[in-house]
């Protein structure tokens, strides 16, 4: 049995962001199939983070490496998870 690498996901978002709601739905769909640790960050909570991501959200960071942003497609998110698990 192969041991899966734990996946840590950081999700940068903001209230009133329609694309973020789509991205959240995709993350919930993936959560039904695989386990991962999710940290959701409202970009307005930190000025530096806000300046960095204000024109890019939703931003999903997987294991601190893979970065998906903007209009995120289900396929690219699934591929990013597979890559993060070492599959």
């Amino acid at each position: 049995m192969t041991k899966q690498i734990p996946v840590e996901v950081v999700f940068y978002t903001k209230a009133g962001c329609h694309l973020c709601e789509d991205a959240r739905d995709l993350l919930e769909e993936i959560a039904e199939e695989t386990e991962y640790a999710l940290t959701e960050i409202d970009i307005r909570s930190d000025r530096e983070v806000f300046e960095r991501y204000r024109y890019r959200i939703p931003v999903i960071l997987i294991n601190g490496e893979t970065l998906l942003e903007g209009r995120i497609e289900a396929l690219e998110l699934a591929q990013a998870f597979q890559q993060a698990r070492g599959e």
């Binding site: 009133g16 329609h18 204000r54 959200i57 942003e69 903007g70 209009r71």
Partner: protein, 236 residues
């Protein structure tokens, strides 16, 4: 005296069915208001894109979300390529906002000119759309990254070019088609509506007697200019 449209529906037969009558009215309406309808649609798209951040700011997500998702049909809505109002993304990216706004503006100008705005030649139209093609394609293939200024400028040129070329072209084509159609139509009705000369008229036309004469079934009867109620009066 009020200007009269050349697209007035013609009521030429009382026996026409009601469906044909309705179709005639609809087509006459479309011919009269096609440019206005296009401009209104463009205006609605621009207004919808502008309304998304305002509605979101007011907490009316139930309205703004469907508008935002509907606008995705015509725009990729990439956040980093978009403008923001009150901290919320517009319904369309900067390039598409420029395209649709300038097309809407072009439609308004065309209507303000009473559809008489002269068009541009095709090569000038191509010149106006080339900058956006270059900007978009080079960015799409990752050769370079565009800026919001370039997106707006090239999008505006593209939108204005399209309208400046297409609207006068459509108007010219429609006008010509209607004129051709009207002439053919008048020729078709001519024998039916040609006036019957008075029996005691000394200038009454002589009916054709041989094959060399005019065919009375599909050409207007010749009426002397001096004749009261001549055919020319029927057309006016």
């Amino acid at each position: 005296m009020a200007a009269q449209s050349i697209y007035q529906p013609r009521s030429y037969s009382a026996s026409k069915s009601s469906i044909e009558g309705v179709m005639q009215k609809v087509s006459a309406f479309v011919l009269d208001y096609w440019a206005l309808m296009i401009t209104i649609v463009l205006g609605i798209i621009v207004l919808a894109a502008l309304s998304v951040p305002l509605l979101t700011y007011l907490g009316l997500d139930t309205i703004s979300k469907p508008i935002f998702y509907t606008l995705h049909l015509i725009c990729a809505q990439i956040p980093s390529h978009s403008f923001y109002i009150l901290g919320h993304q517009l319904g369309m990216c900067a390039r598409n906002m420029a395209i649709y706004s300038s097309m809407f503006a072009g439609g308004v100008v065309f209507l303000a000119s009473k559809k008489r705005l002269p068009g541009i030649p095709w090569w000038f139209w191509v010149l106006l759309i080339l900058p956006m093609a270059y900007d978009g394609i080079t960015q799409m293939f990752g050769l370079r990254e565009s800026t919001w200024e370039l997106r707006v400028i090239t999008g505006t040129l593209f939108g204005l070019g399209n309208m400046w070329f297409a609207l006068p072209f459509i108007q010219r084509t429609l006008k010509q088609a209607l004129l051709d159609n009207g002439q053919a139509y008048a020729a078709m009705l001519a024998p039916q509506y040609a006036p019957v000369p008075p029996a005691n008229s000394v200038n009454a036309p002589v009916p054709p007697t041989s094959g060399d004469e005019q065919d009375a079934t599909n050409t207007p009867q010749q009426v002397p200019d001096s004749e009261p109620g001549a055919f020319s009066e029927m057309e006016e």
